[in-house]
Assembly symmetry: C3
């Protein structure tokens, strides 16, 4: 149903890779919160599939892809097994996980925008839904684990902005009828690279101005 | 698609006004929680559009109006800019913001009930969805910001009840085939006035009876 | 629309019983959190209907049954009145409430799986949605009350697993074309009995392995 950006096989592999790393991030948080193995699986599923499910519900792609593509459902269970047995190792390669997460972010903002547009949404809403696809699972993960959503916190490096940029590039490519495997990959890689730089240099977004206050940054 | 209560232009203006003030309340909470500018925008969008999106998903109005009417999406961004730069001023006119929020509450419980009925729902569910339209965004706002939903707390003045009354009046008007610009405005104003009185006199709802306990009110 | 497992009258009675006890659990938590009477009603409704509403949105059964069957909507209000006036008594019969909750769990995982399958979902997604029907309301309840979802916590007795088993049994019955009043009841009773044993013996699920640490269970 999605405008095929990549060949079906490639898209499937990329999707599953993104789902896998998002599930890892959910599973690691679940372990940090001391959840049991079923709690880990639930949080892995919700993190990995939540953004896409929200998008699909909002655009009317019912049932959501997560409920029609068995691989989407099973992949987070594999991630659950991995973090259950290997979480010290997974946590130790935190930089690698962050890089894979950035790759998932880049991929999902592109495919999410394209799918929303395929379902007839206009440019700006498609961009919004592309972002939602990329960041929604993480917000659901944090809410279920009773953590302030990492997306909203000022002390985390930019996360929404790379997704916004990747989604906007995709929308532009659609507008000029130029979205394909090469250009779509480029947009995803751009968002990925942006996010990696944000992590590396700890780029943060400004908070609201606290005028006439010398300790704006502290409180 | 909605039964036109007001002329299209008037309804659009009222809708955007309601969205704007709901977005202000989300933005102010985000600033109080020290979120960055993107967190402010996300919370403003979620607060302003959340109730209507929930209603639209539940009645099958897909994609939700928030994703087809560009003004709905952009208005919270304007509110974000306003609170970002002017939040001391906005917080200082808190009574005005509360009054505007009450106006949004009154308006959305009426239009939400009417839209649910238009989509074929029966009287009681339409009332429930009218309430949800009015209060849903605030609940999403509080959950995302990790606050106990203001709607549920005993120490806040009545919020759900004015929305319930406004939605019920609207359902009665629909039942007697008398919903129009004048009567719809009257229902919205009644809910608005009720909410303003609840704020002014700090009307609160009772909590469960704690029998045989002399300090029922304290704990 | 659902494949009629039970006769319509029987199914209606069972559904309402399940909704009633789920609403009791929501209402009791609301009282413990000191919410006012409207907060109690909101939490009772969300707990009782949340799982089914999520399932219906995901399978495209719009509007959800909760908004078309008046009894579904009114039952939680009855439960609200009961806990409002009688919460010490209700809390005192906590074991009875837990048993009724287990019955609701058993019933909803069966009917939820059957309904998802009726709407054309494959076996595994139907099982997932059956589980979601049974446990979703409780998760919504906990998130709204700002509690870590009981479903995810390691220190609670097994809850997801009985639902998973009941849903899986139902899917097997559907696959062999053997789902009916007797077999459906048996599946629900099996899940119910499993849950009761989990409560009685405090069966818990394992948490992730903390290797090289002698106090894995403590932290």
């Amino acid at each position: 149903m999605t405008s095929q950006i990549f060949s079906p096989g490639v898209e499937q592999v990329l999707d599953l890779a993104g789902i896998f790393v998002f599930a890892l991030s959910g599973g690691l948080l679940a372990i940090r919160k001391n959840f049991d193995v079923f709690g880990i699986a639930v949080l892995a599923e919700a993190t990995a599939l939540g953004g896409g499910v929200l998008r699909d519900v909002l655009i009317g792609a019912i049932p959501p892809a997560a409920f029609t593509n068995l691989g989407y459902f099973l992949t987070p269970l594999v991630a659950t097994a991995v973090v259950f047995f290997l979480h010290p190792e997974v946590a130790r390669i935190n930089r690698t996980v962050q890089a894979l997460d950035a790759l998932g972010l880049g991929l999902f903002c592109v495919t999410g925008t394209a799918k929303a547009h395929d379902y007839g949404l206009a440019v700006i809403p498609s961009i919004a839904l592309g972002m939602l696809t990329a960041v929604g699972g993480g917000v659901i993960r944090d809410v279920l684990a009773m953590e302030t959503p990492s997306l909203l916190r000022w002390d985390r490096s930019l996360y929404a902005v790379p997704a916004l940029v990747g989604a906007t590039l995709t929308a532009i490519l659609i507008a000029v009828n130029g979205l394909g495997a090469v250009t779509g990959s480029a947009a995803a890689l751009f968002a990925f690279g942006f996010r990696m730089l944000a992590i590396h240099y700890n780029w943060q977004a400004p908070r609201a101005w606290h005028r006439g206050s010398s300790n704006a940054g502290e409180h």
